[in-house]
Symmetry: C2
Subunit: 377 residues, 2 copies
Amino acid sequence: MSRAAGRAAGSRVVETVPVALGDRSYDILIGSALLPELGVHLGGIVRPGVAAVVTNPTVRGLYGEVVATALAGVGFDPVTIEVPDGEAHKNLASLARIYDGLVAARVERGSLIVALGGGVIGDLAGFAAATFLRGVPFVQVPTTVLAQVDSSVGGKTGVNHPSGKNLIGAFYQPRKVIIDLDTLNTLPARELRAGLAEVVKYGAILSASLFAAIERDLDRLLACDHDALRPVIRECCALKAMVVERDERETDYRAILNFGHTLAHAIESLTGYERYLHGEAVAIGMTFAARLSHRRGLCAAETVERLVRALQAFGLPTEIPPGLDRERIAQVVASDKKVAARNVKFVCLENIGAIRFEAIAADEVAALAVGGDLLGC
Amino acid sequence: MSRAAGRAAGSRVVETVPVALGDRSYDILIGSALLPELGVHLGGIVRPGVAAVVTNPTVRGLYGEVVATALAGVGFDPVTIEVPDGEAHKNLASLARIYDGLVAARVERGSLIVALGGGVIGDLAGFAAATFLRGVPFVQVPTTVLAQVDSSVGGKTGVNHPSGKNLIGAFYQPRKVIIDLDTLNTLPARELRAGLAEVVKYGAILSASLFAAIERDLDRLLACDHDALRPVIRECCALKAMVVERDERETDYRAILNFGHTLAHAIESLTGYERYLHGEAVAIGMTFAARLSHRRGLCAAETVERLVRALQAFGLPTEIPPGLDRERIAQVVASDKKVAARNVKFVCLENIGAIRFEAIAADEVAALAVGGDLLGC
């Protein structure tokens, strides 16, 4: 296990990726040892007062103390609000728990909410920040690869409904995103791999050069080598920023980021958000989308193979689990946010780094998903 | 009972008040017999598809059929979602019920949500519209005076938290507000009076001429005379539009509309949202605010007397109920959205039609509210 090497190799380089959204603009900071100086980076966002840190028991145990100390060091009054870990808890019940905590902490419109954790924490805390007192400033401090490269940037917040993922939510931008690579040193290997699925996604849909860098550095990324991760995470953040700047509220272009997600959401929903991590479901969904694209004559078999090879090198699943109910898949796909008149705006692959949208009926997606005729190229 | 006269007198005048908010601009229509032609007025907002009508059992019984017929007449597929009546139900549980209904109705981002009812329905349906699929177009069809002159305009949506009113919510503008005065013919007298409290508020804080018109037409307004109500409702909507255009997200000026509301929210919260209608609590709160203003030397005794006289002419309460707990009032006031560093931005009266903001400690507000020394001028 070479995580320690990754830590040792983490030189003191802090990179900044700006997200330009007018009066909602903010910076993403990427570097090592950022948590202990968190207070300094949050200076200027709000005047020191109550800082409600939303986190889960695992992350609190690892980083709760250092974050609280850093906040108190610049005059904030840190209060921790804990919600249970895992996608199954990204729901209205956890949200209500956060609201209770914000009331108890006497959070005001000028206070600060800090999302400290992975994608579930970021989505929950962000939605609570968007809706408590009709909006409280918040910052993202993502501690997983998935949250660092994808969910913490761009302002999508929300919770799941039993009928589908992220059906309830808001667009609400953070005031800053602070990515401390050191937090990845404690990330379970399975979560690291799941996060790398979203890294592969950015390469597949937007950047052949990023994809090539991933293929080249597979082993170093898997070993959590900071010097390999930093440029890759920076590039993913820069790509995400570009997409969000072009279409903040997903009127059209931003849907490109949903590559692999239509089926992934259905699989997660139908397996109770417990069997797969989000990134694992996305790996299966991307493979499905690529095969479907190939079947439609949109991309070469070699393109599908490169994608599958990278995912499998990261130890990610690529096959749809057997036994899923076709009718229920169709239902979940049809309740997707991107559906219009029962047609899904499906993200198809044309090449590594290039996609196109296709309108496909929810029923057809479901039929292909369980029909078995997309098992290979 | 002269309601029938009001109905008969309702000539076919439809007035339009524009709300200019850039790409979130919309019109308020005010007139009689608008519900049967609702479909026509909603044309152009979205393409006909699912229209989810959120309402309560009472309003559904009265107007559910005519609204559904009007929507179906222009090609919409109307689906009704019912939530229980009353402020006590403006909570996360009712919201979850609406989400379930929207999922079951297969509402998409291009569908339409119609809020048909009073302020509770408008706030609930509006917040559901703001957050379902991260935003679905919605229209307000207010059926109470309170909703018509105040809550349906301006985009404030939300639900109550056990600790305080409207602590959870979003700014989300409707695409249109359709005020059919005929719906007031079936409004219980108590609710009509409670709505007139907000009418008095607009005169008190912003318009001496509106206040004079209210004083002149007290009896006709109480009798639900449409020809007296129409210009008054139009003027309130125009004043609200002006305020919202100047400060949509309540960074400062919009807080003027909270005249009387700081104490009103505390009284509602501490009486479980069941003893007083919102307008009744606001009448008590405005009287308190005016007396407090006089005590601070900000306004003349005659100003307080004019306000109290108008409220009492409408049969509204003006005295704080005995037995409220001082410490709990202080707590609720301190959890108000407008609090900064435990100071309330309190709206004080300088004259009829003129206010000023004063920073007052939550503890002081509570002490004055239960101290009994503001019982008269």
